[in-house]
C-alpha cells in the first residue's frame, strides 16, 4: 500500500467514523439520559436520507433539503417520544426493544408506501462535486471533506452545548441522577422529549449527509443501527466520548478491513468488538456495573 492510498483510506475512515459518531452519539445520549434502548434509531437515519432525496428533488438543492429536513426530523422525534417512547421510561429493556422493533416495522412499511422499493441516488451538490487530485491516479472528492467538516462542526457544537449551556447541565445532571433533577423542580419530561428529538435529528442529519455518497434504499437504517450498536458497545454505553472513540475505531477497522481482508470484510468489525469485549466487557469508556 503506497502513501496516497493509505491517505485516501484514512480520510475515508475518518469520514465514516464521523458519520457513525453522529448516529451513535444520538443512541448513547438517549440511553444515557432516558434509559431507553431505541432500536428505531436506525429508522431516523433512513428517514433523514429519504427526506434528503425527496426534498432535494423538490427544491433542487441538497442544502435547502437539509435545512428543511432537520426541523422535520426533530418534530418527528418529538412526536415519536410523545406517542410511544414516553410510555417506556419505567419499563424493562425487553419492552423497550419490542416497542421500538414495532416502530421499525411501521417506519419501514411507511417508507415503502411513500417512496417505493427502488434505490435512489442523490446528486452531490454542484458546489462540492469537485475532487482534489492527490496523485495522477487518485483524487479525493470534496464532498467527503464536507461531510467530515460538517460532522466535526456538529461534534464541537454538541460539546459546547453539553458542557457550557444550561440545557447541557441538565442533560449531564439527568444522566447521573434523574430523580434528583426532578426533585429540584426541572421539567424532566420536557428535557426527555428534547433529548430524544435531538438524538433523532442528529441521526437524520447523518442520513442526509451520507445520501449522496451511499444512495438511498429500503432497509438502510438497520445496517447503520447494528453498526452503531457495535460502536456503543465498544465505546461504553452512555458515554459521548466513548461513542466518538468507538466510531473512529470502527471507521478505521471497517475501511482497512475491506482493503486488507476483502473476503472477511463484513466480519472484521464484529471480530474487533469481540476482542474489546474480552478485554473490557463494559466498553472502553463504560463504567463497570455494580
Amino acid at each position: 500500500m503506497d502513501v496516497s492510498t493509505f491517505l485516501v483510506q484514512s480520510l475515508n475512515s475518518v469520514q465514516y467514523g464521523f458519520l457513525l459518531f453522529l448516529v451513535a452519539s444520538g443512541l448513547t445520549l438517549i440511553f444515557g439520559i432516558l434509559g431507553v434502548i431505541n432500536l428505531a434509531h436506525g429508522s431516523f437515519f433512513m428517514i433523514g436520507a429519504y427526506l434528503a432525496h425527496w426534498l432535494a428533488l423538490k427544491t433542487g438543492n441538497l442544502f435547502v433539503a437539509i435545512a428543511l429536513g432537520l426541523p422535520l426530523s426533530f418534530l418527528l422525534g418529538l412526536a415519536v417520544e410523545r406517542l410511544a417512547i414516553g410510555f417506556l421510561y419505567a419499563r424493562d429493556h425487553l419492552y423497550q426493544v419490542l416497542l421500538t422493533y414495532g416502530l421499525i416495522l411501521i417506519f419501514n412499511e411507511l417508507q415503502r408506501i411513500l417512496w417505493g422499493n427502488d434505490v435512489h441516488g442523490v446528486p452531490t451538490p454542484a458546489a462540492l462535486s469537485a475532487s482534489i487530485p492527490l496523485t495522477e491516479a487518485q483524487s479525493y472528492p470534496v464532498y467527503r471533506f464536507f461531510i467530515s467538516l460538517a460532522c466535526l462542526g456538529v461534534a464541537a457544537a454538541m460539546y459546547l452545548v453539553i458542557n457550557r449551556t444550561k440545557l447541557g447541565m441538565l442533560i449531564r445532571a439527568g444522566a447521573s441522577n434523574r430523580e434528583m433533577v426532578e426533585l429540584l423542580g426541572f421539567g424532566v419530561k420536557r428535557l426527555y422529549a428534547v433529548v430524544f428529538a435531538l438524538g433523532a435529528a442528529l441521526t437524520a442529519f447523518a442520513g442526509m449527509l451520507s445520501a449522496p455518497v451511499n444512495s438511498v434504499y429500503p432497509g438502510m437504517g438497520e445496517h447503520v443501527l447494528i453498526i452503531s450498536f457495535v460502536v456503543v458497545v465498544i465505546g461504553g454505553l452512555g458515554s459521548i466520548q466513548g461513542a466518538f472513540v468507538g466510531a473512529m475505531l470502527i471507521g478505521f477497522v471497517d475501511t482497512f478491513g475491506k482493503v486488507f481482508l476483502p473476503e472477511a470484510a463484513s466480519l472484521s468489525v464484529y471480530a474487533f468488538m469481540a476482542a474489546v469485549l474480552l478485554w473490557r466487557p463494559q466498553g472502553l469508556f463504560g463504567v463497570r456495573p455494580a
Binding site: 434509559g35 419505567a90 419499563r91 422493533y101 463484513s266 464484529y270
Partner: protein
C-alpha cells in the same frame, strides 16, 4: 418449575388432540402453515428459556435457527449425509457448540449490553452467510432431499409426505416442551430460578452463576437449532433470512405475546402471530404496518401476554396448592 394445574393440563391436552386431528380436516395449505407455526413455537419456546426463565434477553437467537439450517444443507451437500439419525444429532451438536462460544462472549455482559452483543453476533453470522459464495450468498442453499428416517433399510416414516412431516414437527414440539420442563424442574433448573430472582445472592451461595447461564444458553441454542433444522427441511432451502434479526425480533414478539416464563405461552403466541400475519398478508401488501401496530399494542396493553389473560390465569390458579404464579421479570431497568 411448578406442576401444571389440572385444568391447564387438560386444556393443553385438548389442544394437542386438536393438533393431532388437524391434518385429517384441513387443506394442504393449512397443514403446511400449521407446521410452520409449530416450528416457530419450538423456536420461541427455546427463547423463552433465556428471556423468561434466565432473564437473558437475546436479540440474536435466530443465529442458531439459521445455523441449523445451514448445517443441514452443508452436511447434505458436502458430506452426502441424508439420514435423519446422523444429520439431526450433528446439527444439534454444532448449534450447542456455537452457542457455547457465543454465550461465553455474550454472558460477560448483562442487561442492555447483552441485547446488543447477541444482536451483533447474530448479524455477523448473517453477513458471513450473505457474503460467502460456498454458502450460496444471498440466494442461500437448496436442501435437495428431506432427511430420511431409515433404520437398517427399514423406513420408519417418510418425511417427504407433508402430513408425516406435520406429525414429525408436532412430535418435536411436544418433546421439546417436556424436555424443557424437565430441565427446569431439575436441580440445574432450580439454580437458574435462583439466578433470575437474585444473581448476586446466588453467587454468594457459592454457585458459579455464569456456568449455569452459559449452559442454559447452549440448551436454548440447541433447541433453536431443532426448530431451524425442521424449518429448513420443510422449506427445502435455507437463506440468510433465517439468520436475520427480524427472525430474532419476531421470536421475541411471540414470547411476549404468548406470555414469557410459561413455555406453552410462546407456542400459543406463535400460532396467534403467524395466523395474524397470514391474514394480514392476504389483505394488503403492506401488512407489516399492521404487525408493527399490533406489536406496540401488545407491549402497551398486554405486557404479560396471552398467558396473563384472566381466563388463563384462572385456569392456572385452580389447583391443589393455589399459590399465585411467579413473575419472571420484575418491572425495573437494569442498566
Amino acid at each position: 418449575m411448578r406442576p401444571l394445574s389440572r385444568p391447564l393440563l387438560v386444556l393443553l391436552l385438548v389442544i394437542v388432540a386438536l393438533l393431532v386431528a388437524f391434518p385429517q380436516l384441513a387443506e394442504r395449505y393449512y397443514v403446511q402453515l400449521a407446521t410452520k407455526m409449530m416450528i416457530m413455537g419450538i423456536f420461541a419456546m427455546s427463547l423463552d428459556l433465556l428471556v423468561g426463565y434466565t432473564r437473558l434477553v437475546s436479540l440474536g437467537h435466530a443465529a442458531f435457527f439459521g445455523l441449523a439450517g445451514y448445517a443441514l444443507a452443508v452436511l447434505q451437500r458436502d458430506l452426502g449425509l441424508v439420514s435423519l439419525w446422523t444429520t439431526l444429532p450433528l446439527t444439534l451438536g454444532i448449534c450447542a457448540l456455537v452457542a457455547l462460544l457465543v454465550g461465553a462472549l455474550a454472558i460477560r455482559t448483562s442487561g442492555i449490553y447483552f441485547i446488543m452483543v447477541t444482536l451483533a453476533i447474530a448479524q455477523m453470522l448473517y453477513y458471513f452467510a450473505n457474503d460467502t459464495r460456498a454458502l450460496g450468498g444471498s440466494d442461500g442453499m437448496f436442501i435437495g432431499a428431506k432427511p430420511s428416517a431409515e433404520v437398517f433399510g427399514l423406513e420408519l416414516f417418510d418425511l417427504k409426505n407433508r402430513v408425516t412431516f406435520y406429525y414429525f414437527a408436532l412430535g418435536a414440539l411436544v418433546a421439546s416442551f417436556f424436555l424443557a420442563r424437565m430441565v427446569l424442574a431439575s436441580l440445574f433448573g432450580r439454580v437458574i430460578d435462583a439466578i433470575r430472582c437474585n444473581e448476586p445472592r446466588t453467587r454468594a451461595l457459592g454457585f458459579t452463576t455464569w456456568r449455569y447461564k452459559l449452559a442454559m444458553f447452549a440448551i436454548a441454542g440447541m433447541l433453536a437449532g431443532l426448530a431451524g433444522y425442521i424449518g429448513a427441511a420443510q422449506d427445502g432451502i435455507v437463506n440468510p433470512a433465517y439468520l436475520s434479526w427480524h427472525q430474532s425480533g419476531q421470536a421475541l414478539v411471540i414470547v411476549i405475546l404468548g406470555g414469557m416464563g410459561t413455555l406453552y405461552g410462546p407456542v400459543v403466541g406463535a400460532f396467534v402471530l403467524i395466523a395474524l400475519e397470514d391474514v394480514a398478508a392476504g389483505i394488503t401488501e403492506h401488512w407489516l404496518l399492521f404487525i408493527g401496530v399490533f406489536v406496540i399494542a401488545v407491549v402497551l396493553l398486554l405486557p404479560r401476554g396471552i398467558a396473563s389473560l384472566p381466563i388463563v390465569e384462572m385456569l392456572g390458579r385452580l389447583r391443589r396448592g393455589g399459590t399465585p404464579p411467579p413473575r419472571p421479570i420484575p418491572e425495573a431497568g437494569d442498566d
